[in-house]
Every structure is written in structure tokens, then in C-alpha cells.
Amino acid sequence: MKLPVSVKVSAFALIVMGAYTYYANSIPQIQSKPPEELSLEGGNVTPEQLVKAGEGIFKEKGTCEICHRIGQKGTRAPDLAGTGATASKRKPGMGAKAYLIESLLDPAAYLVEGYPAIMPKVDRPPIALNRSELWALTAYLQSLGGSVDVKLDDIPKSAGATAGGGAGTTTEFKMPGDPKAGQAVFMGKGACVACHKVGDVGGPVGPPLTEIAKIQTPEYIMAKILNPASMGTVSGFPPNVMPPTLGQTLTAKEYVDLMAYLLTLKGGAAGAKK
């Protein structure tokens, strides 16, 4: 039986495409997932925990490993082995901690000889580390041959201010609820204030929420209220303390109002009042 040309040509094209598809499916399958936000503010984090968190940022969200190696000379960026100690000798009059923080926030301020000015500011998009992440990353870099003494307050308050991406979906997020009514839920029915501080008011059991709108995404906060266990626990705080049924005890309006209130908490006096 003689096959029509259209059948032969179609079969040939399918075999060719099938071969390409098979090959593409037979190699390592790697997805690129959006990085998760790390929040350590207000927590009693041990230096070991901080260094471990910083190592994760170094390898993943910070994408530092693309250019920097530890114990191996890179062609694009300096070897970071022992940087915790050598950082103090880079810039006259500047200590290791200050130098490392400056290197992250303003990499072009000082260039190691022989390397071009290609490093991006890591608190700006697209890397966009927040203050907690900068704190942890600095601690990790200090741990490479030096001693870890960096505090959250060493990281400038302005750092990571545009971490979410300057325009579009993230920064324009607005809840339709009433922040005043939400504050009442926070202080009353929700009993959030029993464990969380806003400004000077509130308990110490959970992490303070004074800057929660600045350091966390709305999606995270919403999910944390509805299903606390699914979002993990901030380092330094006891796990599984937040009531799992909180989301169910609130009415839809109370939930929306509470979210609207939490999204106003960006640090400073406004969040700390009352």
C-alpha cells in the first residue's frame, strides 16, 4: 500500500519533534522557583541559626554562588574563603562588619583589584534581599574566617525598602477592609496582641509585627492567619503556638479588616500607637 505524501511528511515531522522532546525530557529537570521571604526580626536567633540561614541565602535567593566561590579563585568575583577576617583589611579605617555590609548594599564603593564592577546591589530588585536576609547573609560572610557579631540594627533601616519590586502587583496590594476595625480585632476578638507586639504594646511570645507589612508579602500574612502551621515558624520563636483555628473564628469582615490593619504596619510611629 502506498502511503499518501501528507501522511509520510507528517510522520517524519512528528518523529523529528518527538526526538527533540524525548531528549529535553531525558536531561535533569530543573525548575526556577520564586525565592521565599525570610523574616528574623524581633526573634532570639542564635549566631548558628543566623549563619545557617545566611548560607541558604548565599546559595539560593542571593544567587551569590553564580560569581563567588569559597576556596576557589573566581574569574568574575573574589574568592570568599576567609573573608570574615580579610574584610577588615580591605578599606583603611573600616571594620570587617561595616565593609561586608557596604559590599552588599553598595558593591561599587570599593572594588577588589582585578575584578570589574559587575555586582548588583543585593537589597534591590531583582535579588531584593530584605533586612533579615541581609543580616543573615552578613553573619554567614563573617563566619568565613571571622567572628559573628552582626546585629539587625547594623543593617540600615532603608535597606531592602524596594525588595518586593517597585511597581505592579506587590506594592499596590490593598485590602478592601477597614484598618481601624481591624485594629480592634487585633486587640480584642483575635487576641493577637497577647503574643505579638506592635510598637511597645503586646506580648513577647510571637514575633513583633511593627513592620510586618514591610517585611512580608500580603499572601504570606493571609496564609499565616488561615493556616499558621503551613507557613512555618520564625526562627527563635516556639513552633505551633499560634492558634490553628484563628481563621475560622473570625468572620469574613473581621478577617479582611484585620488584614487591612496589618498591611498598615510598616514600622515607625503609625504602627506603634496605642
Binding site: 501528507s6 527533540y20 522532546t21 525530557n25 530588585p125
Partner: protein, 586 residues
């Protein structure tokens, strides 16, 4: 006049303009919603599939008219009717695909406005003035192409120059449309003209972003390659279905021209790719490094394989074509050496440097890259390989070109010696900088690729400058026996079309994938459930399905287009010329 207001393409144009006018309204109404989900398959897949289909059709209808008008000019100047027939045949192919392109464009716009309203509102806030330019160009192009196609007979004879001008004008409008829409897509990759908060500072800065001009050049060249391969595949299909020697000869010639056009543009395409890569690095090192050495590193191995297939296929087609040229026997001895160079280049280009491997694989190999072969995986080796492959392909073409010719110039032997010397010099320069690149820093090494490219381009120009006068008025050793080429050569043409279409899909994934979890890189974050950039296997499955749909649609559209010609051929002024045994097309 009335007939111009009835075709579907024009109606689609009007629909498109109305849609475009409504864009800012949609943007305002959808302020509160960031994302909507497309049923069953999700928003990302819906946009991805329609965007790829739209781009395939758009590339075809923009690419083919470029070489159609060049062929028409050749026919006009040489007074050879077969070129005019071929140009008309090519335009006929694109004409049938115009409506589908516009329809898919409108559908893509619906998807953006409906599924990604927040993102679209941001883009509209930046680019609204360009939407009006785009719409105006769309109208101008529509009218010009209609005049060009339907006026073929009316504007013939002494008015032919007017017709040619219409062809040129429609290409200019088409290219302008491409350039405007490229500004939107490249802004998403390398945004410019905005402040830190993403507010517009300069519209020209937003248009003229880092990736804009390289993408303009890259897409323009790639569209010609794509149009050439699709036209050649169409001719191959008609060749294989032909019932007479005359028809076989006609479509053999058409396939050759299509492939010639594709190959001519293809050999300069890697250079445009380098330019694009360099600008991406200039915009953001992190993005560039993620693209080449991060989670996308395997993508370039697949790309290398596809381009290797294109090089080998193009050369194989030329070698098979030489068998229908009396006098080509004297050049067949070179073919094994050409194969060796291309195969070696292919192997080098497909050699990875450092890839994400399992711990066991890394231990077995002694690191993230092979201790010996790993050195062939760096850009120095790859640039050298691809430049030598381009030189070799050019040599194949040169041998094909002179297969049935014997120069009558007294200086012919000196000319040939000079050509070989230029080839050798170019190969030496390419190899020198390839080796030297191992001993310098990456920032210096990147600059070497420019010298390599200039050496190859320079060699092509100089060799052709010698070749054209050397073979002008040359003695023919025999006529090309059109239609006698081996049928397997036609499958090579289909292989080239399928591979290039698949490659376009892969490169589309690369371009959008390097943004990772950003709609607009570093400015508008993708916080939708689809923010994950999928793995290559998934991307390949999508590319294959869309490519199958594309070819099915193309076959259907071409079949529809051919319905109108049935029974008309005898009466038509563009009745197919007799080509069997003809020459001069080389």
C-alpha cells in the same frame, strides 16, 4: 474599491484597532484584580501557547515578503518571468496566513487584558502612545500588502516599478510593526526609561532598552530564515506530491531558492545572537550568568543540537543538489573534509562546561565538568566551532555555486588562490582568538568573539567580491537538471523547517524564562500561582504541541489558499513557468 473593504484581514484589522482603543479602559476597570485563571490549562500555558503560535505566524508573514520583493526585483531587472512567478507564489503563501496572524494577535491581547490585568495596566501605563503607532502601521501595512498582491497584474509592464515600490513599502511597514512590538517584549526583559519605583521617566528610554535593538536585528534575520524554511518545506511537499516532471522541476527550484534564502540569512544569525547576549550581560550580569550558566544551562545544549542539525541539514541539501549539476563531480572530493569540520564543530558546540549533575555523576567525573572535554565547553571553544562551521557552510555554497561553471577570466587561478588564502586567514584568526581566549579574563574573552565574527564576515565579503566577477559570463559545463534531485533532499527541507520552528519555540522560552519570577524584570514581580519557571521537559512538551498545531494550521491554510487557484491556472497571468533543465538560478 469595494472589494478592499470586504476581505477578512481588514475586518480583523478593524477589530484589532477597536480592541487596542479599549486597552486603557480595561486597565482602569481591572485595578483591583491582579490575576485571573484560564480554565483547565492555567493562564501561563494559555498565554505561552498563543504567543508562540502568533510569533510563528508573524515571523512567517514578515519574513517571506522580504525575500519575495527581492526576487520580484530580480525578475523585473532580468525580465525573467520565472522570478516574478516565484515572488507571487511566495506572497500568496503569506497572504493566506495574514488573517490567522491577526486573529492570534487579538487573542493574545484578550489573554493579557483578561488574565493579567495588573501587569497589563502597568504596561499600558508605559506604552500607550506606541499602541496608536502600532495600529496606524497595521492599517498602512494592510492597505499596502493588499495593493501589492491584488495589483500584481494591474501594475505590470511599464508600471512594474510602482509595484516593486509597494512591495518595498509593505516590508518597511511590516518591519516597523515588528520594531514597535519588540519594544514591549524587550522592556519586560531589560526595562529602561523608568525610575526605581517603576514610574515612567522617558518613553524613548523604555523603548530603546538594552535588548531592543539586538532583538530587532535578531528577529528580522530569523524571520527571513524562518520564512525561507517554511517556503522551502511547502515546495518540498509540492515536489513530493508532483505528478509531472515539469511540476517537480518547478518545486525543486522553489525549494532551492527558499533554502538559499534561509541559509544566507542563517549564517549571520549567530552574530546577532552574540550581540543580544552581550547586551543582556551589559544590562544585568546576574541575568546573563543565570541565562548561560544557571538553571538554563541545559537549554543551550539543546540549542546546540538543533543548530547542529540545521548546519548539517543545510550542507547535506547542497551536496545532494550538486548531484543534479553536471560538472560538480570535480568538487565531490572535498565533501568528506567538509563533513569532518562540521561534525567536529557540532561536537564541540554540544559539549557542556559545567552543568547541574547528581553527586554520583560529579564524583565519577571528578567535578562539575569533565577534566578534559570540559575545556571544549567554554565560550572560546564554542565561538571557534560555530565560526568554523559557518565558514564551512559558506564553502559548501561556493562549491555549489560554481558546480557547473568554468571561469573564462585569465586571472581565475590567482582568484581561486586568493579565495583559499582568505579562507585560511579567516580560519587562522578564528582559531587564534579561540585559543588565546583561554589565557585571558572573561571580560576580555567576550571581546574576542567580535574579532572572530569580523574575520568570518570579512572573508565572506572578500571571497564573494572575487567570485562574482570571476564567474560572470562563465562557461557552463552543463545545465542544472531541476527536478532530478533525490527525494530524500525534500525531507531535509522539511527537517530544516520543523527544526527551525522548534528552535524558535525554545528561544522564546529562553527569552521569557530569563525573567524568572518577574513580569518585568526587577520591577513587576510575578506573584501569580504560575510564577515558577518550568523545567525544560515541560517547556519542550509545550513547544512540540504548539509546533504541531502550527504546522497543522499552515497546511490547512495553504490548502484553503490553493482552492481558489483550482481551475484558474490556465487563465492566470502567473501560470507556472517551465523550469526543467533551466539554469541560472544559482
Amino acid at each position: 474599491m469595494a472589494r478592499w473593504f470586504t476581505p477578512p484581514r481588514l475586518r480583523l484589522s478593524l477589530l484589532f484597532l477597536i480592541l487596542l482603543c479599549a486597552v486603557p479602559v480595561f486597565a482602569q476597570e481591572s485595578k483591583e484584580v491582579a490575576y485571573r485563571a484560564f480554565p483547565y490549562i492555567g493562564s501561563r500555558l494559555a498565554v505561552r501557547a498563543i504567543a508562540q503560535l502568533h510569533l510563528n505566524f508573524a515571523a512567517f508573514i514578515l519574513g517571506v515578503p522580504i525575500f519575495a520583493v527581492i526576487i520580484e526585483i530580480m525578475g523585473w531587472r532580468t525580465r525573467d518571468p520565472k522570478y516574478d512567478w516565484l515572488a507571487h507564489e511566495f506572497v500568496k503563501l503569506t497572504f493566506a496566513a495574514f488573517s490567522t496572524t491577526a486573529l492570534l494577535g487579538a487573542l493574545l491581547l484578550f489573554l493579557f487584558v483578561g488574565l493579567y490585568p495588573k501587569f497589563w495596566a502597568y504596561m499600558a501605563g508605559i506604552f500607550t502612545p506606541t499602541f496608536w503607532i502600532y495600529a496606524a502601521l497595521f492599517f498602512l501595512e494592510t492597505f499596502t500588502v493588499y495593493l501589492w498582491y491584488y495589483g500584481w497584474e494591474w501594475l505590470s509592464g511599464p508600471k512594474k516599478w510602482v509595484h516593486v515600490c509597494l512591495g518595498v513599502l509593505s516590508n518597511l511597514f511590516g518591519t516597523a510593526i515588528l520594531v514597535v512590538s519588540n519594544s514591549w517584549v524587550t522592556f519586560m526583559v531589560s526595562p529602561g526609561g523608568i525610575d526605581d519605583a517603576g514610574n515612567l521617566v522617558s518613553l524613548w528610554g523604555a523603548i530603546n532598552n538594552y535588548a531592543w535593538m539586538p532583538i530587532n536585528i535578531h528577529r528580522l534575520i530569523a524571520n527571513i530564515v524562518f520564512g525561507g524554511t517554511i517556503a522551502a518545506a511547502y515546495a518540498a511537499f509540492r515536489f513530493l506530491s508532483a505528478t509531472s516532471d515539469e511540476e517537480r522541476a518547478r518545486y525543486d527550484w522553489m525549494g532551492y531558492i527558499g533554502n538559499f534564502v534561509a541559509l544566507s540569512a542563517f549564517i549571520v544569525l549567530p552574530f546577532a545572537g552574540y550581540y543580544l547576549g552581550r547586551e543582556i550581560y551589559a544590562f544585568n550580569q546576574t541575568m546573563g550568568i543565570t541565562m548561560m550558566g544557571g538553571f538554563m544551562s541545559w537549554l543551550w545544549i539543546i540549542q546546540a543540537i538543533l543548530i547542529g542539525v540545521l548546519f548539517i541539514g543545510s550542507n547535506y541539501y547542497l551536496w545532494l543538489g550538486m548531484e543534479r549539476i553536471p560538472g560538480s563531480e570535480r568538487y565531490r572530493k572535498y565533501i568528506p573534509y567538509l563533513i569532518m569540520v562540521i561534525a567536529a564543530g557540532f561536537m564541540v558546540w554540544a559539549t557542556p562546561r559545567s552543568l547541574i549533575v547528581t553527586l554520583q555523576e560529579a564524583r565519577a567525573m571528578g567535578g562539575t565538568h569533565h577534566p578534559i572535554l570540559g575545556f571544549l565547553g567554554v565560550m572560546s571553544a564554542k565561538n571557534t566551532a560555530v565560526n568554523l562551521m559557518i565558514l564551512t557552510t559558506f564553502l559548501s555554497f561556493l562549491l555549489y555555486r560554481r558546480a557547473n561553471k568554468a571561469s573564462l577570466r585569465p586571472w581565475a587561478s590567482t582568484g581561486v588562490a586568493a579565495q583559499w588564502a582568505v579562507f585560511a586567514l579567516a580560519a587562522a584568526i578564528v582559531t587564534f582568538y579561540g585559543v588565546y581566549g583561554y589565557f585571558v579574563e572573561s571580560i576580555v574573552r567576550i571581546g574576542f568573539s567580535v574579532y572572530q565574527v569580523l574575520a568570518v564576515l570579512g572573508a565572506i565579503v572578500v571571497i564573494m567580491a572575487i567570485d562574482i566577477p570571476m564567474f560572470k559570463g562563465a562557461k557552463a559545463t552543463g545545465q542544472i537538471r531541476w527536478g532530478t534531485i533525490a527525494p530524500r533532499s525534500q525531507y531535509v527541507l522539511i527537517l530544516l523547517a520543523v527544526t527551525f520552528t522548534w528552535l524558535m519555540g525554545l528561544m522564546g522560552f529562553a527569552r521569557s524564562g530569563i525573567r524568572q519570577h518577574w513580569h518585568v524584570y526587577g520591577v513587576v514581580r510575578d506573584s501569580s500561582p504560575d510564577a515558577v519557571t518550568p523545567a525544560l521537559g515541560y517547556a519542550a512538551n509545550v513547544i512540540t504541541i504548539v509546533t504541531i498545531v502550527f504546522f497543522a494550521l499552515v497546511m490547512f491554510i495553504f490548502w484553503l489558499g490553493s482552492l481558489g487557484d483550482r481551475g484558474k491556472e490556465e487563465a492566470h497571468a502567473h501560470a507556472a513557468p517551465v523550469i526543467a533543465g533551466g539554469s541560472g538560478a544559482s
